[in-house]
């Protein structure tokens, strides 16, 4: 079993961190994992994306060209990557950033107004974790306890205040149901 995940959005939305967090959760379940960022000028303000692979077998190419799961946090990423998602794959999009509709019926799409939810819940800057919460709930890529442990690994000790708010954001996203539609 191998899951190829592509996370994409603007620099500053926490895309690379979200990917790292996901990879750590996989690692804590003794799975093979890889994380590969797009690097270069993009990381200085433009779009950022990263490939994460969770697998039970050794991972070959770390580059995700046809994702099983796409998490898109801005329109350019959504437009660029949604057509590449594999049949029966998943798309998670931050619908507060753009009017998202990929027009595909062969994938499962979840539109979560993550940025709006974050603002409402006083969790500014954690739209990424809200969207990831939904992603994890739907795809069941990792067990909840691995997610908590991964948080311990990835949130540096000097930013402990982020620990609880991250968990809160994950839960908020996971429980978000309204506005969900298929296709």
């Amino acid at each position: 079993m191998m899951t190829q995940i592509l996370l994409a959005g603007f620099g500053g939305q926490g895309i690379l961190f979200t990917g790292k967090f996901l990879a750590y959760a996989g690692l804590l379940e003794d799975r093979e994992v890889s994380w590969l960022p797009s690097y270069g000028p993009e990381m200085r303000g433009g779009t950022a994306n990263c490939s994460v692979i969770l697998s039970d077998e050794a991972i070959g190419s770390p580059i995700v060209l046809r994702p099983d799961v796409l998490m898109a946090m801005n329109l350019p990423s959504f437009s660029r990557f949604a057509p590449l998602v594999r049949q029966d794959g998943f798309i998670f999009a931050d619908s507060s950033m753009f009017a998202a509709d990929c027009g595909r019926t062969d994938v499962v799409c979840h539109y979560v107004p993550a940025t709006q939810l974050a603002a409402n819940a006083d969790l500014d800057g954690l739209a990424n974790m809200i969207l990831l919460g939904k992603l994890l709930r739907v795809t069941e890529l990792c067990r909840p306890e691995s997610i908590r442990k991964a948080m311990e690994k990835t949130v540096p000790p000097r930013k402990q205040q982020l620990f609880e708010s991250n968990l809160k954001a994950l839960a908020l996203g996971a429980d978000f149901g309204i506005g969900e539609k298929q296709g």
Binding site: A23, L27, W35, Y39, G60, P62, L65
Partner: protein, 356 residues
Amino acid sequence: MAEKVLMKGNEAIAEAAIAVGCRHYFGYPITPQTEIAAYMAKRMPKIDGCFLQAESEIAAIHMVIGAAAAGKRAMTSSSSPGIALKSEGLSYLAGCDLPAVVVNIQRGGPGLGGIQPSQADYFQCTKGGGHGDYRMVVLAPSGVQEMYDYTAWAFEIADQYRVTSMIFSDGILGQMMEPVELRASRQETPQEGKPWALTGTRGQREPNIINSLFMQPEDLERMNLERFVRYAQIEAGETRWEEYLLEDAKIVVVAYGAAARIAKNAVQAARTQGKRVGLLRPITLWPFPKQPLERLAKRVRAFVCVEMSMGQMREDVELATRCQRPVYLCARTGGMVPAPEEILGKLEDASHGCCV
């Protein structure tokens, strides 16, 4: 087994160097290897080590020469255009028989090129890098664990044979994160194990002189021939490669580093289509694994080289196989990375015996 941590390839290199006792790092910023310098800058002051940002790539490699001459494990790292600048020092390291480790996290060229991953320094690095008659050991990891393990190995080779070993990698491997077991622990060869080191005579011995200048050609030839005896020992003792599904293979993919990972995916896909395809992954690019390729040439139908350069490695495969079998090329250049589908297409050509 130690706990695994998630690390970037660049960080794994730096951590391994520290784990095996390297306390002297000299570098200059260049994408996509800068994490190595950043990691060293953070760690070295805390372990009584030396991180120094040099004024140039050239100065950095000559600082390595100085620290190596003092008998210490020393390292520098860069990316393609920076390695070109270091080539003067690579030659002096060889001429002075000094052990050192140099890391090349390659990016596309020529010229300033780009910053995306590449393997286009193959000619430059596997053939020595600088001027003169010498060899440099070139190790090609294809994962973050190997970035770690081979860095430790590179220091051992360097010390054992008094040569420069290069970690020859690319932007993908430098930037990607994978789980790493931090398992290196072999410590630095103490200065006492390096009787040639410049430690001061203390009036107790004749001066040690480290020098690459020999005005008499007879002397220089003798020095070079002595060096080539060591190179032969390295070829005999250190050549490494990985074989994957080669037992019944009729077509052999040859690929190293990041390209080998993608090639492996393509080999797996070809196998599910019933094709008898395998992979030979050179781990040492110098010494190149000539013998297994020569053996394979006797029984397989064709070779397919997959590389992020325009057939630079293919020349070594053709030499190793004495051109007994066609050697196809699946190449991307300028920072582009081959997709598994492109490799499958080339495997199709090879199995139908299309013109190379």
